[in-house]
């Protein structure tokens, strides 16, 4: 059992967790930040994606204690004073979901991609997003949403 601080969405949370308890488990079950989802527990589906110091990270694969020094951003941290990010806005505009369970992870992965590469090609989007699964099969719409967000970012909407 260790005690540490997690820095999530600009706030610090004192945590007491076992050394091998995942960041996902702590987010969901200790902090009620349930926007981050469990899908497979082995880093294969991307539903649990969060940003750690800006990098898309599978929160089911990293012990919470190992995230103690990082700036963590979850889906709950994107909206600022009622304003959605261009990626969130683009997902809404394109209707890029059906059941919506993969959406948090998709948006976090796409946010990391567009942070690093403002104007990715379709091929770059597919490569970056290929670890995120949508069982409803909305990939074409998610692709369209990321394209839309990328042009929105390029236009300075960010």
């Amino acid at each position: 059992m260790s005690k540490f601080l997690l820095h999530i969405n600009g706030k610090s949370y004192p945590i007491e967790a076992q050394d091998d308890e995942s960041l996902l488990s702590v987010l969901r079950n200790h902090l009620s930040l349930t926007g981050t989802k469990y899908g497979c527990g082995e880093g294969q589906c991307g539903a649990c994606t969060v940003l750690m110091d800006g990098a898309a990270t599978r929160s089911c694969q990293i012990p919470a204690a190992a995230a103690a020094d990082a700036k963590i951003m979850t889906i709950e941290g994107l909206e600022q004073s009622g304003r959605l990010t261009p990626v969130q806005e683009a997902f809404l505009q394109e209707g890029a979901f059906q059941c919506g369970y993969c959406t948090s992870g998709m948006i976090m992965a796409a946010s990391a991609l567009l942070h690093d590469n403002h104007a990715p090609t379709d091929e770059q989007i597919v490569t970056a997003m290929n670890g995120n699964v949508c069982r409803c099969g909305t990939y074409p719409r998610i692709l369209a949403a990321i394209r839309r967000a990328s042009s929105a970012s390029a236009g300075g909407a960010r």
């Binding site: 709950e76 997902f91 719409r141």
Partner: protein
Amino acid sequence: MITREFQSLHSDVNRRDFLKVLGGGLLVCLSPVPTIAQESGRAANRHELPTEISAWIHIDADGQVRVFTGKVEVGQNIRTSLAQAVAEELRVPFESITMVMGDTDLVPWDMGTFGSRTTPTMSPQLRKMAIAARELLVETAARRWNVDASKLIAGSGKVTSPDGKKFITYANLTRGEDLVKSVSGNPTLTPATEWKVAGTAMPKVSGRDFVTGKHEFPSDLARPGMLFGSVLRPESYNAKLDSMDTSAAEKMPGVRVVRDGDFTGVVADSAFVAHQALGAIKAKWSSPTQPSNQGLFDYLKANLEGKSDAEHQSGSVIDSFASADVKLESRYTIEYIAHTPLEPRAAVAEWNDGKLTVWTGTQRPFGVQEELMQAFKLSPKQVRVIQPDMGSGYGGKHTGEAAIEAARLARATGKPVKVVWTREEEFTWAYFRPAGLVEVKSAAHRDGILVSWEFHNYNSGPAAIGTPYEVPNQLIQFHPSKSPLRQGSYRGLAATFNHFARECQMDEMAHALKMDPLAFRLKNISDQRLKAVVQAAAEKFGWGASKSSLERGFGIACGTDKGGYVATCAEVAIDPSTQKVKVLRAVQAWECGAIINPDGLRNQVQGALVQGLGGALFERILFSNGRIENPRLSKYRVPRFSDTPQIDVVLIDRKDLPSAGAGETGIVGIAPAIGNAIFAASGTRLRHMPLTPEDNVIKS
């Protein structure tokens, strides 16, 4: 959450009492209509029909409309399209509608959300009620103004005088009133050609909650004082417990081991500790010898169970086959696949004064209520099942396993308990789409007219087993078998495999006849709706513009089921050195009557095609001796971004026809279209689903 505003309201309460609880207003109820049952695995549990009301609509003093239905939202966007249908007939803005869904204490009994039944059955029911409500409002306004009701106009949530000078809002009309109406007749629905709200591309209701992470899925819910549970599983199917040592688990702080007959579970104040504790239980099992993938299809054919009734019989397939010019006999097979909803089964259960409330992800809230009633010997009033809009189902969440487990653990501990299945549990202890085999004998005249069609499906199922082509001599039979794995419903049921076998066989016939596969199909189709989608898909695809080569293949398939018509064209690339297949492009034409929400429909039709890619190309359950050998996403491949071709969806809007459901049948065309495209390029006929399980490589 909408449903939490309400106290428990039973569907058997007097309607006036119901209105009192809702604080007055206007209430419209619909008298029962027959509903249709569909197969739900072997354990199909045919519930009696509703005895009282089958749905209702309430308008409160603020003009807010609440629509109560037992249908549930699982990603198919029915919350949105049902609200559109009601808004249309009630003549209110879309935004004033709230759908109250899938809460057994609040909504009338419903069989469940499957079989593409919501749009063709629930939607017209709700529309009828909306019409009745509108008529009641108009009559009330007429009384107040002392004018002839037939002269008044309802629109935008108000009733207006014929000269347009005077109006009264629905809110004003219902304020302080107790208006109740029961509907049983058949009012005239607004024709689709006059729709203003229905028929438009309405975005998903509360879409914002999904992009902000605010929406609470079943696995996200928490209750005060809630504990987390985890359940011990046997080492294989049909294994018997020999011995168990729970002492290490019991020593862990905050852990409680719960034993209840064959059931063993653990409860802890964190999910992490619960799983740790479960891992600390030492159990010894003895397992019987059981079937494996090897020899599965022979096993299914040899182990028939129940009656093999002829689904269709006409003429003589024996005589017509014997005397035909061109004949073919083939065998097609399909493996078990798993639904793999991204949200696994999850439930939170809570007992209060003998009443059990369970929040869970299910397509059948009332089915789960019944399972809980049986498991705990309770009456309907003692069990409330609430289904928050969930992380999909695809036919895989008809049952209440997690609900019963959570309820058992909650009862033993006296606290609310949450159980969320792991991915491995979901892969192993849910149920699968049936494996099966089809044997088909077909024959045609030299001119391309089909004369004989004999089709036997073993175990996979009877859905869409018939042929939509004109064939004078037919024998079509489904033969149920004893499945070695637990099997049940899956999006489209056996329509996927029956279409695969039929449409590949049709393609083989076309090649044997030296005819173009499109021309051969059109020659044997008389159903104009089917013809229309085939032509639409072929035109959009540019069928015939390029010839298939060793490196590029074009395939087509079509069919109909559950009132939907589909035609799919696929273009595949084949690497000549590795024989690796990539689907480059797909066109899917779709028609299901009048379109209620073209945006939602397009999403469904496209999504079904993408999901179908998995079963077509690589999804399969590997099992041996009662164990699933690939119960993880790293070992069970599902379609990803890189598997997704360019997809064009062509929607045909038949405003003259009633709307059919569209959640399922969009999945049936892609597998045969790809199989036929692979043949066109490589000359290799793949008769097994998945077609290319090992890294998309063609192996004959």
